[in-house]
């Protein structure tokens, strides 16, 4: 682990996280389309997750081996869940709306 990260870095990240949170809450008042709203919220969510894991959890300063192990495992799981379950959820809704 990198042991000389300045305290200032942590508090700068804290400010960025708070600003992103405010933007996410403020999105509600903008008249964005559903798709655009989800895109903006998901992007902000992923930026926040990256800042927390990368700097607060020091993953950025760990070896590339552990970083790839953790990040790839998480991304593959997320992709598996999203691309398998979400289309199924939509299909289940269609089946309920238009039963054969």
């Amino acid at each position: 682990m990198e042991e000389t990260i300045s305290y200032r870095v942590y508090w700068m990240i804290w400010v960025v996280l708070l600003v992103l949170t405010l933007i996410m809450i403020g999105i509600e008042s903008l008249s964005l389309s559903t798709g655009m709203g989800i895109l903006v919220l998901s992007t902000a969510m992923m930026i926040k997750a990256t800042l927390i894991t990368g700097w607060f959890m020091h993953l950025k300063y760990e070896t590339r081996f552990i970083m790839l192990t953790l990040v790839l495992a998480t991304l593959l799981t997320a992709a598996f869940l999203v691309f398998l379950l979400i289309p199924d959820g939509i299909a289940a809704h269609r089946m309920m709306e238009y039963p054969r």
């Binding site: 682990m1 949170t21 809450i25 509600e28 989800i38 969510m45 927390i52 552990i66 799981t77 379950l85």
Partner: protein, 203 residues
């Protein structure tokens, strides 16, 4: 074990902290966090599935007290920053600062739990139950209590570990790596909240 195997094994790993470049305690904490992340990934994925399958879903803005949720988020993010500061201080050997910031983090956790109890009380008074609610599909309140309840339990356990760490550090028994391991757990709790906050309260 054959000599040839032992030699090969020694060359490829050499024991110690390789190949991950960290102690086994820290590695096991990461493994635990990944498995715990899978638990929450399962919760959130099943929530998204049911929500899509249901078709109708309550507007979160009508159900939740968003300023309260915003405050909870602010407190958790701030506690994560104080925890990072505590870990940084522990690695610098500044035990006094580390104890102070671990205590601030525990305080943040207690505040978060207090606000969550307030949120639950409000919703229960309005008729939310595990199996039913006045706003639409029964799964809405089921997922709400299950997901936020599991997360809140993690926060509660984290507060217990933080208080123990602060007391052990005061007694001179905590190591800098011990503080770092607690920090990993606490940041994970914050990380999970980022996903819950976005997928359950906002989207």
């Amino acid at each position: 074990m054959s000599q040839a195997y032992m030699t090969s094994s020694t060359i490829s790993w050499e024991g110690g902290v390789s190949p991950f470049g960290m102690s086994w305690q820290k590695l096991m904490m990461w493994v635990f966090l990944v498995t715990d992340a899978l638990l929450f990934a399962g919760f959130l994925a099943s929530y998204l599935f049911i929500r899509l399958a249901s078709g109708t879903w309550p507007d979160q803005g009508d159900v939740f007290n968003m300023p309260l949720i915003g405050l909870m988020t602010f407190i958790l993010i701030t506690s994560s920053a104080t925890m990072a500061t505590a870990v940084g201080a522990a690695h610098r050997g500044d035990l006094k600062t580390a104890i102070r910031f671990v205590s601030y983090t525990a305080l943040g956790g207690v505040l978060f739990l207090g606000l969550q109890a307030t949120e639950w009380t409000q919703l229960i008074h309005e008729g939310a139950r595990l199996s039913s609610n006045p706003w639409g599909p029964s799964a809405f309140s089921s997922f709400f209590f299950m997901i936020t309840g599991f997360h809140g339990t993690h926060v509660l356990i984290g507060v217990g570990i933080l208080i123990t760490t602060a007391l052990r550090a005061r007694a001179g028994k905590a190591t800098s790596e011990g503080v770092e391991l607690v920090g990993l757990y606490w940041h994970f709790v914050d990380l999970i909240w980022v996903f819950i906050f976005t997928t359950f309260y906002l989207i």
